[in-house]
Structures are given as C-alpha cells and as structure tokens.
Amino acid sequence: MSNLRIAAREFRSRLIMGTGKFASGEVMAAALAASGCELVTVALRRADLSGKQDRFANILSYVDAAKHLLLPNTSGARTAEEACRLARLGREATQSSWLKLEIHPDPRYLLPDPIETLKAAEALVKEGFTVLPYIHADPVLAKRLEDAGCATVMPLGSPIGSARGVETRASIEIIIAQATVPVVVDAGLGVPSHAAEAMEMGADAVLVNTAVAVAADPVRMAGAFKAAVEAGRAAYEIGLAPKRREAQATSPLTGFLNEK
C-alpha cells in the first residue's frame, strides 16, 4: 500500500481517528493503537471553572505524541471568525499547526457552512496553518478550497455520527477525479464496509470516530476499520473489475455432460 502524503508529510496509515465518545481514556488509547492511525483529532472547549471537572483528565495524556500527529478541530465554531480564534488556541494548546476546519452552525444535521469555511480557510492558510476542511461533498467548493491552499478536502459521506455510509457517492467521485490534494471522506462511515467503499472509490483516507468509539468492543472495531481501509486501498491500487450487464462465465463453457 502506498503512503498517504498530506502537505509533504508521509503517513503509512490511511485511517484518521477522532477521539470523541469513548468510554474512557484507556479504551481510547487502546483503540487508537489498534487502528494504526497516525493522525488524531481533538476538540477545544472552555475549561470548567466550577471546580467539578477532573483536573487530571487531560485528553493529550492518552495520545502518544510520538505516534500520532494532533489535529485540533474547530467544532463549536459557527462563523469563520470563531473558527480562526479556535484554530489559534488549538495551535497553542497542541503545538500543532495542523487543523481540522469545521464550521457547522446547525446542531441537528451538523452540516458544514461552505461560505464561512472558505472564508476561514483563506485566512488560516495565510497564517501558516495546514488546513484540512470538513465540507459537504461539493466539487466546486472542494476546488475553491484547494485553490485557497488547503492541504486536503474532507467531504462528508453522510451527517456526522449518522452511520449511513457514503450517501454522497456521485459527488465524491467528481471531487476525487478533480482533486490535486488528498481527499479524505469524513463523517457518516458507520461500518467497515463503508470505509472500504470510500477507499475503493479512490479516496486517499477516511476519518472515523463514532463507529469505533460506541462499538461494544472499540478496540476490535478499530482493527476491523483498519483492515477495511487497507483492503479498500489495495483494491483501488490494483484496479477494480469492470461492471457488466451480463454474466461472464468463470468455468469453461465446453465439455458439458449434455453435449452431443
């Protein structure tokens, strides 16, 4: 399997993992290890000032910095301005200038705002961030973000956490055909076959969180997604069998018992 290359950095794994929704830091760490992932997202939130929060529950203490590059996200931002502020805070907190740019004002569907996302991407690229924007599967927007200097585009398969798979397939095919930066299918991948499907289509990587984190056994499910991503990528690199309307026999069509 060829390496994934984002912004001149090489990754052996094509599976990017989110850290949300795991039952504990220990389970998360074990799942990240089983997934083989090298890129890991984290979010940023206000620190609790009531004294109730566990002051030692630091997410970063469960992520092995030697193995994983941190990708702080801008979730919670509703505008480009808020996303830029979170980006700068994330860079200071993680010492990583890599950024998952996501601006989704509507909590019901969490669909990304394309106008604010483009505005923020243009500003943050200029500030030296390596920007990986989460977007709807819009080929025109993907091109605009690429032109703005984004390191990848990350179109959604279906809404975050919905487990509905690659519902945007036709548009993602166009994005992949046109892109000169890596295409990461992010969101909605509910089962390993969804991840394999995206990889067979030629996606460069996938980002998975909920499907692993809420599984009955997140560590085994992380391994299942790893295998699916590798299988899908291998099949894409080899080349898929063409589809045909009619059958093509696999066994010889001569020497039948009833031949005269």
């Binding site: 997202t41 984290v42 002051r55 997410i59």
Partner: protein, 71 residues
C-alpha cells in the same frame, strides 16, 4: 491601582480581581495549570511563555480553553 477592583469576564462569567493579577495568577486561583490550558485575552492568544507577564486589566474578556475528546 485600578487593578485592585478590576472586573473581568472569564469564560462568559464575571469575576472580580482583588489584587493585581497576571494570567498565570488567575489560572492558579482557578486551579488550572498553564500547561493544561490555553488562554485567550480580548480575542488574542496569550502564548504559554507569557502567562506570567501579561497582567489582567479592567474589562478584559478571558477565555480559558483546553483540549478535549472530539472527532
């Protein structure tokens, strides 16, 4: 010194500073270590290396943020 009664807003909530305080002093008072969190003051990030140098002033808007689990 106006610092003695400086009123600031931290994470959306009003706070009263009883003595001149740096950002680092505020973090200590709230029980956070400067290595765990990152601070924004009036829209600008306070670099971790500067938390002991930046003094809080009347009307400051402060955000104390930390990395959490997320996708």
């Amino acid at each position: 010194m106006s610092h003695k009664t400086a009123r600031i807003v931290v994470n959306g909530k009003a706070q009263q500073l009883t003595q001149p305080s740096s950002v680092a002093d505020l973090l200590v008072a709230l029980g956070w270590k400067s290595t765990q969190v990152v601070v924004e003051r009036n829209g600008y990030v306070v670099p971790r290396s500067d938390v002991g140098l930046v003094m809080l002033e009347e009307g400051d808007q402060v955000e104390i943020i930390l990395p959490v689990a997320g996708g």
